[in-house]
Point group: C3
Chain length 264, copies 3
């Protein structure tokens, strides 16, 4: 049965781990269409994976199955779960990595994976991506109802990872932080587009002992090459960037840094 | 409808950008077969992307749709275009990135993308790959005629990027340059195979203040491991290489370097 | 005809080489389902590729076609071969890269690729992945019998690469070595799970002038974050790891290092 399965892991692309998962999936459902979201999540970084998933899951067709394996607790007592949301199925460890996306789409039901029928016969204690999550996703892609994988669990008790909220000091000033830096060096803050009123021309960004006033523009190329700007980016957040340059390196910002933003 | 869509970008493989494009495509045409050409083009390097596209586009089945997003001018007035060539469709920004390939295959017609029907409903000013090029490619893969995307434009006015030509000083001497260095460190020059007559045994390469005479061979392994050689490579250009080593590092050559080649 | 073709190379993911292979395959069989095993094999490292293939090939559906191009001898007299095993077909250079996997699955017959019908019309001397192995795999995926590609060869004469065996000094002491380090920094030894009796609580690892006693556990998270442990990993080998850390860097171990392991 044709169905999309996406994969998001911290496995990197050199080692055979991702291909082993794909082989397991295709051995169960040769018609599954496997799409990589990313395998370059920073090792063991649950929050980063949760953010990437949040920004991507809804771009896929309804009924796609999203598998996430960023799983530092593999082999211990953290649960393996399937979460059914309004439009999708999610498969992964119950460590918070699914939480931003499933709450965004709206959880319908959640299940703990327990039924050995849908797992590989030998389950390693180090690679549940291959031995548990891949086969479960493959069986779900064949149309097996999620309630077959194990007992329903209280979805309010799924582990959550917090998306830090920007704090509004006044309608022109926010205490915020850096939530993601992409490989262009663009600095994504947790200030959402709808927090920024019309007519803003500049922002002042304060961090550590620095203070910098930069233009607020529509597009990277609205400032000369090499200059710093801010804009609403494709995640729909306020972003600090350098036109054709690396803002994170230029400004010395990293994920988690606290910043104060003033609009003007 | 089954149809191949290739993707060539400078987005890297960690961030969710490529997966967002794939999700958008598959949401429009679940049968599209998406193949990555590369997402590791040097950031904003239009010429490098144009060369990679030129070397690859014609290996794919006729009617494949090639999407290129190396787009430093995103969100400004550079046009978004579809180019119909003899055998393929190309989708991308009108900044030169498509030009080497479309001219090589032979342009039939070109169109500016304007019809909002074939775009995402909200178009960011930073990510036209997801909001314009991906949905347009997906609709084209469904068989929508390219003239539906917007007005035909004069294809002679599409922006071109120059492929530097080697300059023939005499039938044994060329002023040339380095046009690509691959990840093995092989140094690809702009001297084409047909410029080199039969019977050449050695080449002398002069660059900066260095001069080096190296054998001209068929295969890397025709010299001992670790030795420098030259050969006609799989791009059909004269290449300087080290057998199982990195010629670019060994010789200190980078893309764009001017060289003089003498055959002997 | 729908059929899985896997690719394992040292080509990296920036250059157009992998995409050229995919284009050639899809031009012959548009229904082929191409899955990447890895393109980040260390350059020219036949043994590493052989290990990755061994650990992955059997996860794929029967009748999958595994193509391996780690080929420092390209263009010289090393043979290009197809190996038919109990459940799979393998395509690659006869340099040992296929040997661990084909011997593991059981060789049925082997053939030297010679029939020009199944090759690209112009064969470069530097890229047989594109000009020989990709088209042969594509024709095999269409159901062309392997004996059509060329003469049968004595499969006992296929080049082998040795998987170093651990040497048992006594039932608690092994002279072993590091056979792989993954991108988490986990150190995989050549001591197989079945060489380790029940009841082991610790292992002592001796290498260079160091000696270290570490717990033998089930899962990474059975020790506190940042601590060294050993366990049976998903390859089914004894592995030395750091919970959420990099064991190879911490201990200064690299592939090929000799170690002595004592169980206690």
């Amino acid at each position: 049965m044709k169905r999309i399965i996406t994969l998001l892991t911290d496995f990197g692309i050199k080692d055979p781990y991702v291909a082993q998962m794909k082989g397991v999936i295709l051995s169960i459902n040769a018609e599954a269409q496997i799409i990589d979201i990313s395998h370059e999540v920073s090792k063991h970084n649950i929050h980063e994976a949760a953010f990437i998933l949040l920004s991507t899951y809804s771009k896929f067709p309804k009924r796609s199955i999203h598998v996430v394996v960023v799983d530092p607790g593999v082999g211990t007592r953290r649960r393996a779960i399937v979460v059914e949301t309004r439009r999708y199925l999610f498969v992964g460890p119950d460590n918070g990595v699914l939480s931003l996306a499933v709450d965004d789409d709206g959880v319908v039901r959640a299940y703990e994976i327990r039924n050995p029928l849908f797992l590989r016969s030998h389950i390693s204690s180090t690679f549940h991506g291959r031995d548990i999550f891949a086969p479960v996703a493959a069986y779900l892609s064949l149309g097996i109802p999620p309630e077959y994988v194990g007992p329903e669990i209280d979805f309010r008790m799924i582990k959550r990872t917090a998306e830090p909220k920007a704090f509004i000091i006044n309608d022109k000033t926010f205490r915020a932080c850096v939530i993601y830096i992409d490989n262009f060096g663009n600095v994504i803050t947790n200030i959402k587009a709808d927090m920024i009123p019309r007519g803003v021309r500049n922002i002042t960004i304060k961090f550590k002992d620095k203070e910098l006033t930069i233009p607020f523009k529509r597009a990277y190329n609205d400032v000369p090459k090499g200059e710093v700007l801010s804009l609403i980016d494709s995640f729909n957040y306020l972003e600090v960037a350098v036109n054709q340059g690396n803002a994170a390196k230029r400004l010395g910002l990293t994920v988690g840094d606290s910043i104060v933003i003033e609009l003007s």
